[in-house]
Each structure stands twice: as structure tokens, then as C-alpha cells.
């Protein structure tokens, strides 16, 4: 027995097993989770043409910025907003408590108008500097407005001309409140009452300070996953992952013995690599994504099966373990390469033409194929070289293959 090879084999094996035992779970749970796993609301919106305002690139860009401000006002952790194609906007709101009011807020045009008694618009949302919700007199929730310099002048003029008369404050054409002007207000501040509760006032304040949308936006699609279902999905995926992986492990051990063990060790490393890659590429783990990882474990052993079958063929031809192993790897390489490239092509198509969770699935699939080539070819080969080089095992039967009797030495 040669100890240097054996030591290398053992060190590599234990490093992989230890790394997997201690880091697989923490790494897996630190990957950003999709809404289907952590719960939340996914909203797809589309900017649409109206007679007043046509949709163009600039308008959609502004819509994205304004909606972003609105979302940030909601105080969620890690909301995302992205533009898709020409006129679509996709918003993910993880852990949002009241999805319906959030959705209603996102798509609102939020055009604020102050009209005098004749119905003439004197001020709009553009004259605002800031707006905040607070609890006013009689513990009523109100929205405090602060005008900019221009706005303050206009507002002072409006109040001066309308003492004793009602003015109307409208949002998207609906009257919020119509107070009667008591005196001239010159400080550049005003209040909107009429909110039913603090939350409603809060949302109105966010809408007003984020600005109004330049074009009409329609909500096309909303999907909400409750936290319980998300947790259930996570639990079930963990179970499916465990059982799928263990069956593959047992299968490899039964059919390929020592080679199978080596492949299983490489597979542990493969799982770690996929998880690390997802974490550092800032990918989002979704339910189909997890299915993709589980599936990729089944696929990852394919390269090893190809190599080991070649290995067995070479042994049957009478080669020694070492040269049969090397021949197995080199002959199987082109096959593995060609077959995996075609799988990657399918993943790339999926990435470019798919949306949202499907894109996530495509990334895991492609990552899985690339990393499995690395682990199945290079890692398994090094481990097997060390193991065979150590001269610990000389009988091919330990590798799941029977050599022809006459050449067995």
C-alpha cells in the first residue's frame, strides 16, 4: 500500500464530507428565496396607452422609478422591481401583509389636484415637496402636505381668493375632501383629512410624495403565496431533496461499489458547489429551481455512469485498473461533453425566452450541468487516481466489475 496516495484520498474525502456536513444547510438557507417559498406577492403591471398619454420608453422608465419609490415607502425587506420588455413592470413584494391594498397602491395614477369652486385646477401633485401621514386632532388620521416654493404661493393665492368657499382636493378625479377655506394659508402646508385609518393615510402619503404616474398602468397578474404554504413547500422540497439524493447515493454504491462511493463523494461536492454558486450569483431559489437541483443530482451521476461503464469495458478487455480507469475517463469525455452541451443549449433557450421562476429554473439547470461535469470528471478522476494509486484495492470486483478470469492477476 502506498500511503502518500492514500493520504491524499482520505484528506480530500474528509474535507468534502466535513464541508458538506457543516456548510450545506447554512448555505442552502442563506440563498435568497423566491416568493413561492417565503410567501409574498408578485405583481405584473402593464403601461397602456390612453388618449391623453401614449406609452413610450421614457414614460415606462419614469413609471418604474415612481413605483420603486412607492414600494420603498411600504417598508418591506428586499422588494424587487424590474422592467420586462417594452411596457411591463414586475414587482415582487416578499412578506407583504395586506397584498390587496399594496397592489391597489402600486397601479394608481395618483394625480393630485386642488380645484377651486369653479372647478378650475389650481395646484397639482407637482407642486408638492413632501407628504406625511400623522394622527391629527380628534385622533383622526390625516395626511400633511408640504408645498414647494411655487406651490406655497399658488396655495396662498387659492386660499386668499376662496375664503368662506369650499375647495376640492381630488385624487385621480375622485374627491378626497372638500374643506371650506377659513383663512389665508401662507406657510405652504396643508392637510388632507378623510382617511379611514392610519394605514390608509400612510398609503396616500406615500402615493403623493412618490409622484403621479405619467401613463395609465394596469395590473395584469397578481399572485400571492401565504407564509404557511411557503413553509410547507420548503419542508416538502427538503424532504424530496433528501429522499431523491439518498436513493441516488444508494444506487451508485450498490452498482459501482468503490467507484460508486467515490462518485457519491464527488456528488456531495457537487451539491455544495451548486448551492455556493447560487448564493454568490445572487440567484433566487424557487420551487421549480429546487426541483431542478434535485433533478440535476440524478443527471450529475450520468457522467459517472458513462465513465464507469467505459471503465468496466476496459477491464473486461484485460487492462489494469489504472489504465482502464484512465481510458474510461478519456473515452467517455467527448460523449459527456457533446451530450451536456446540448442540455446547456436547452437551458439557454429557456433562460432567454422564459420569465421569472422559469428563468431561475434555467439557471439552476445550466449551473447543474456545468458543475456536474466538473465534479464528475475532474473530482472523481483525482479521487479514483489516488485510491487506485494507493494500491489498497487490486480486485476489480470492488469497482463493480468482474475481470475475465485469465487476465486477473
Amino acid at each position: 500500500m502506498r500511503w502518500d496516495s492514500m493520504t491524499k484520498f482520505l484528506v480530500m474525502t474528509f474535507a468534502i464530507i466535513l464541508g458538506f456536513t457543516f456548510y450545506a444547510k447554512p448555505v442552502a438557507f442563506s440563498i435568497r428565496q423566491g416568493l413561492d417559498l417565503q410567501g409574498g406577492t408578485h405583481v405584473v403591471m402593464q403601461a397602456v396607452d390612453t388618449p391623453d398619454a401614449k406609452v413610450d420608453n421614457d414614460a415606462v422608465e419614469r413609471v418604474v422609478q415612481i413605483i420603486e419609490r412607492r414600494i420603498n415607502g411600504l417598508g418591506l425587506t428586499e422588494p424587487t422591481i424590474q422592467r420586462q420588455g417594452k411596457d411591463r413592470i414586475i414587482v415582487d413584494l416578499p412578506g407583504v401583509k395586506d397584498p390587496d391594498s399594496a397592489i391597489a397602491m402600486l397601479g394608481k395614477t395618483a394625480l393630485l389636484e386642488f380645484k377651486d369652486v369653479t372647478g378650475k385646477t389650481v395646484l397639482t401633485g407637482k407642486d408638492l415637496k413632501n407628504s406625511k401621514a400623522h394622527v391629527g386632532q380628534n385622533s383622526q388620521a390625516v395626511v400633511g402636505l408640504e408645498f414647494n416654493e411655487e406651490g406655497a404661493k399658488k396655495f396662498a393665492a387659492l386660499t386668499a381668493q376662496n375664503i368662506g368657499k369650499p375647495i376640492s382636493i381630488l385624487l385621480d378625479g375622485n374627491v378626497l375632501t372638500s374643506p371650506v377655506v377659513q383663512e389665508v394659508i401662507t406657510g405652504g402646508n396643508a392637510q388632507i383629512s378623510g382617511s379611514r385609518n392610519v394605514e390608509e393615510a400612510e398609503h396616500l402619503a406615500i402615493l403623493l410624495r412618490s409622484g403621479s404616474l405619467p401613463v395609465k398602468v394596469e395590473v395584469m397578474e397578481t399572485r400571492t403565496v401565504g407564509p404557511t404554504l411557503g413553509q410547507d413547500s420548503k419542508d416538502m422540497s427538503v424532504k424530496a431533496f433528501g429522499i431523491g439524493t439518498i436513493s441516488v447515493f444508494v444506487f451508485m454504491l450498490l452498482f459501482y461499489r468503490m467507484s460508486g462511493l467515490v462518485a457519491d463523494i464527488a456528488l456531495l461536492l457537487y451539491i455544495m458547489l451548486v448551492l455556493l454558486a447560487m448564493k454568490y450569483l445572487n440567484a433566487t431559489l424557487t420551487l421549480p429551481g429546487i426541483a431542478g437541483i434535485i433533478l440535476s443530482i440524478g443527471m450529475a451521476v450520468d457522467a459517472n455512469v458513462l465513465i464507469f461503464e467505459r471503465f468496466k469495458e476496459e477491464i473486461r478487455k484485460g487492462k489494469t485498473l489504472r489504465s482502464a480507469m484512465e481510458a474510461g475517463f478519456s473515452k467517455a469525455f467527448t460523449t459527456i461533453f457533446d451530450s451536456n452541451i446540448t442540455t446547456i443549449m436547452a437551458a439557454v433557450v429557456l433562460f432567454y425566452l422564459g420569465t421569472g421562476p422559469i428563468k431561475g429554473f434555467a439557471i439552476t439547470l445550466a449551473l447543474g450541468v456545468i458543475l456536474s461535469m466538473f465534479s464528475a470528471i475532474f473530482v472523481t478522476r483525482e479521487l479514483l487516481r489516488f485510491l487506485i494509486g494507493s494500491n489498497l484495492i487490486k480486485n476489480p470486483a470492488f469497482f463493480g466489475c468482474a475481470a475475465p478470469k485469465e487476465v486477473r492477476k
Binding site: 400571492t224 431533496f241 436547452a346
Partner: protein, 288 residues
């Protein structure tokens, strides 16, 4: 030894029969398209107490949603359950909110598992996208295989892929399983995986062609190549089908149809790779 290429006609007939039934089913009953495609509303909620379909139906009737589908999540055949799945057509946001508020006031407290609401316009776009994605993937594979092998291999491999995709689509139509947007991901995975098996066998054929003796017929060469890859084909598919089975059994309801699609596609993939692709290539080769 059993000759696969000699029995090609039987194997292809079985495939074509299933596909014929599938295409018939597509024409007669079409597909069970989920809300991703045709738009609509799914509300999946869990009440704090047991409810019956009638309880929910009563509330929905008041909102003119009498023709909605109401399903209870029961494992046995009991008539009441805490979890309810309601499917309706496309709903305005306010109608849904009012209905939910009524469910709350007239039946009781509930927790939201899932609420999905899809407008009508996205569906046709998804179908178009799916078809483009699959055809683009086929074209890429034809190009790659022609480059690495030659055109007849490419033609046979892609024909095998067309069969696999058609097979999954057929089963979903025959059994009226619901198709959602993840279906296309499943189809492309099937394409990516099934091509794998075919390439492995073609790679063997190509290798064996180099040392091809005139005494060996093309049929024998194909049969030998397939047999040399047989263990690999079976083992690899065992392991992959294990993992898909694990997803079907333990992965939960939401992902089940996705896993079914892959299970059928992969099974068809082994069938086409092992039994059809080689003989198809042989047929093209002899026709030159």
C-alpha cells in the same frame, strides 16, 4: 441477441399509436389550460373551522360566482375540510376583495395559502413563447449535431425529440392534466435530457463506424452500439426517474404536474433514445 433495429417497425408503431390517440384527444378535448394561459382566479384558503362546499357556494352565489369550481382539500371522502380551493373566471380586484370579505364575515377567520389572479391577455403570448422556445431549441440542436456529427444524426435526434415533446403534450391532453407556465420548463428539460441519451448512443455509433468491417451490417452496428450503451441508458434513467419520483411523491401539490411532465418526457426519452433514434438514423443512412 435481441435485435432492436429489426423490431423498429413494432416500436415506432407503438409510439405512433399513442401519438395518434394523443392528437385525437387534442382535437376533440383539447387541453386543460390553467389560469396562466386563459386567465382567471384561484383562491386557496384555510379556515379555522371545517367548512363544506355548500357554505362556500352560498357566499359565492351572492356575488354571481355560482359557476365557480370549489374544491375541498380532503384526503378521505369527507364532505367538509378546513382548506378550500376556489377557481373562478377573470375577476375584477374589487369583486374578489368583496367576496373574500364576505367569506370572512359569513363563514369565519381564514388564512391565505395562495391567491392567483391572471388577466386574459397573457395566455396567447405564453403559448407563442413556448412554441418559439421549443422550436429554437430544436434548431440549435440540429445545428450542433450536424456540426459535431452529420446531418442524418441531427435529423434522427431531433425527430426523437419531437416525439418526446409530442408524447408529453399527448398525455396531458388525454388525461386532462392542468397545464401551467412551468409546463414549458418541463418540456425544455425533457428536450435537454432526452437529447443526452440519444447523443450517447450516436457517439457510440460514430466510434464504431470508424472500425466498421464490411462483414458487419449497418443493423448489427446499430444494435451493438445500442447494447454497449444499454447499462448506461438504464442506470442513468433509473437515477433520474428516482429523483423525479421523489419530487412527485414528496414535493407537494404545487410542483406535481411539473414533475409528471418530466416523468413522462424522460420515460419517452429513454424509449426514443434506445429504441428509435438508432434505427431512424440507419433508415436515413440507407436512403442516401
Amino acid at each position: 441477441m435481441f435485435s432492436i433495429s429489426k423490431h423498429f417497425k413494432i416500436f415506432i408503431s407503438i409510439t405512433l399509436t399513442i401519438l395518434a390517440i394523443g392528437i385525437g384527444s387534442m382535437i376533440i378535448q383539447g387541453f386543460n389550460l390553467g389560469i396562466d394561459f386563459k386567465g382567471g382566479n384561484i383562491v386557496d384558503i384555510t379556515f379555522e373551522k371545517q367548512v363544506t362546499v355548500a357554505d362556500v357556494r352560498n357566499v359565492l352565489d351572492k356575488h354571481d360566482l355560482g359557476n365557480s369550481i370549489i374544491q375541498l382539500a380532503t384526503t378521505d371522502n369527507s364532505t367538509s375540510s378546513k382548506s378550500v380551493l376556489i377557481r373562478t373566471g377573470i375577476l375584477a380586484d374589487n369583486v374578489r376583495q368583496e367576496t373574500l370579505a364576505d367569506l370572512h364575515s359569513q363563514i369565519g377567520e381564514y388564512n391565505v395559502n395562495r391567491i392567483e389572479n391572471v388577466g386574459a391577455t397573457v395566455g396567447s403570448e405564453l403559448v407563442r413563447q413556448a412554441i418559439i422556445a421549443i422550436i429554437v431549441s430544436w434548431i440549435l440542436m440540429i445545428l450542433y449535431i450536424t456540426m459535431r456529427f452529420e446531418a442524418r444524426f441531427a435529423a434522427a435526434a431531433v425527430l426523437a425529440l419531437v416525439i418526446d415533446v409530442m408524447m408529453v403534450v399527448s398525455w396531458f391532453s388525454i388525461f386532462q392534466w392542468e397545464i401551467d407556465s412551468s409546463f414549458i420548463a418541463a418540456l425544455l428539460t425533457v428536450v435537454g435530457f432526452s437529447i443526452n441519451g440519444t447523443i450517447v448512443i450516436f457517439d457510440r455509433i460514430r466510434e464504431n463506424l470508424k472500425g466498421h468491417r464490411p462483414s458487419e451490417s449497418l443493423a448489427e452496428l446499430v444494435d451493438n452500439s445500442i447494447n454497449q450503451c444499454m447499462t448506461r441508458s438504464l442506470y442513468t434513467n433509473f437515477t433520474v426517474l428516482f429523483t423525479v419520483a421523489a419530487i412527485i411523491v414528496f414535493g407537494g401539490e404545487t410542483i406535481r404536474n411539473f414533475a409528471y411532465a418530466m416523468f413522462i418526457g424522460f420515460s419517452s426519452g429513454v424509449y426514443t433514445s434506445v429504441l428509435l433514434a438508432g434505427p431512424m438514423w440507419k433508415t436515413f443512412k440507407e436512403k442516401k
